[in-house]
Symmetry: C2
Subunit: 250 residues, 2 copies
DNA sequence: GATTATCCATAACCTATGTTAAGTGAGCGA
DNA sequence: TCGCTCACTTAACATAGGTTATGGATAATC
């Protein structure tokens, strides 16, 4: 169930690109949902890479510890995201991963991932999932490189907003974001003090209202315009050409 | 020939993970080497994504144009690299791509990429290639986020050094790097003036000797120590467990 | 209910890097 | 040979963001 519940796989399935056997295969995978407490570590950098997970509930993140004692967060994982395919093809973890709040994950072994590659539609699905993650990463890199703090933060909030909206976790332009300003700073390469300053700025401009973990974007489109947000890398489903190709080359 | 000449595929092949049919398949792909002139554009952001390429000679790069007129370079491509799998699963290009100097590339259609996914070993190879690219991207993100200019540049040069060394393009710790300081700045999110300043700094410390495109690292290990370079994400070949799994699940 | 730990806001000050500008040398075409 | 352009260097100045510090909420623990 969990792997089929993943964004890309759901897209493929709804486009009729997955055969019944494909779906059965996904459903047959042994799933042991695991309850995670807040801050619980999934794995550490350089640890042996042997599994990946689908996040069912709660938020997670992957990060690298830096020599100066701080850390760089690479990505936040929301329900429906797959965590751990980053290390596919390596023996050791390139980054650590941990939960933010409590939640539930479904772990899979790399062995299972391999078996999945025996079915081309599923392999394509996994690959597309991985490329979507890479797109998010590239987008962050672009903003880290050349944009001012308020643009970075606006972009970050809008990205989270879109991702949450996609999984139905946004209501009345409001959502719950279980991140401290320190975590946000670690993701955006910014000091926590400056995150606070920047939030104040966005608040004064009426773009973001925040009360602890409750975020409200009174005018999401204004935010999007501020950063020229191009959401194709988040929202776009697999091209139909994909499904046609998949049906044509079984 | 060209796709088999790719780092990961060569690794898989030498570990006996590719069957004769796999290799034959790679060799059969229609290859039309194409000569590219300096600065020639391969494709533009938002263009239709229909092909990817293996770089045979010359350097390329992918980049995003920013609203303020500058650009952010996402990655430099050296001979043996695959350019364009980033957009797999999207209809449009997420980034532009162009050559830096003149060179030769081998284009493939996405159609061919799809057919390739019908053979699990090859799909695994492509996936592993993509994840290696993502690792480079993550590493850059980490350095963009929290490191000082001289550390970023040192890291960048050492990465290039390692990648060139792997393809035999380093001799006596020297190599040719056809990049202007402006391009380096666009990659590192740094003004060209500051790139120059930082080069001067590294020169004064005896870490980098540079004469236009000729770079010499008198003591590469010293550079690596400066940035605590962890080269596992570049050099590591596919884990042997991989090959075993591939042989076990045909 | 008191105490403590987190998280956040704001201020004062400092520094790395951006910006602008002027000058140098290499290459190159007329 | 002259003059142009391009890549680079260096300097002077400006500023975004880092750092340190203080105080005030709110939540957690006893």
């Amino acid at each position: 169930m969990a792997l089929l519940d993943t964004v890309v796989m759901r897209g493929l399935s709804s486009q009729g690109a997955l055969s019944n056997e494909d779906k059965a295969f996904l459903l047959e995978l042994e799933l042991n949902p695991r309850h995670m407490s807040a801050s619980e570590v999934l794995w550490l950098e350089n640890g042996h890479a042997d599994l990946f997970c689908v996040v069912k509930e709660g938020w997670g993140y992957s990060y690298r510890n830096l020599k100066n004692g701080s850390k760089q967060i690479l990505k936040f994982y929301l329900p429906g995201d797959i965590i751990g395919i980053r290390d596919f093809g390596f023996t050791r973890r390139l980054a650590s991963a941990a939960m933010i709040n409590e939640g539930v994950i479904y772990p899979f072994s790399y062995q299972q991932l391999f078996e999945l590659f025996g079915r081309s539609s599923l392999a394509v699905g996994i690959m597309a999932t991985a490329m979507r993650q890479q797109a998010l990463l590239s987008e962050r890199l672009v903003y880290l490189g050349k944009y001012a703090a308020h643009e970075q933060l606006a972009h970050f909030l809008y990205e989270i907003y879109l991702r949450l909206k996609r999984i139905g976790a946004v209501e009345d332009n409001s959502f719950l974001m279980p991140l401290t300003q320190e975590l946000i700073g670690d993701a955006l390469g910014m000091s926590p003090v400056h995150v606070s300053r920047t939030f104040s700025m966005l608040r004064e401009e009426g773009l973001v209202i925040r009360d602890r973990q409750h975020i409200k974007l009174p005018d999401p489109e204004a935010l999007a315009r501020l950063v020229e947000f191009n959401d194709s890398y988040i929202d776009e489903f697999l091209p139909h050409a994909f499904s046609e190709l998949l049906r044509a080359t079984p």
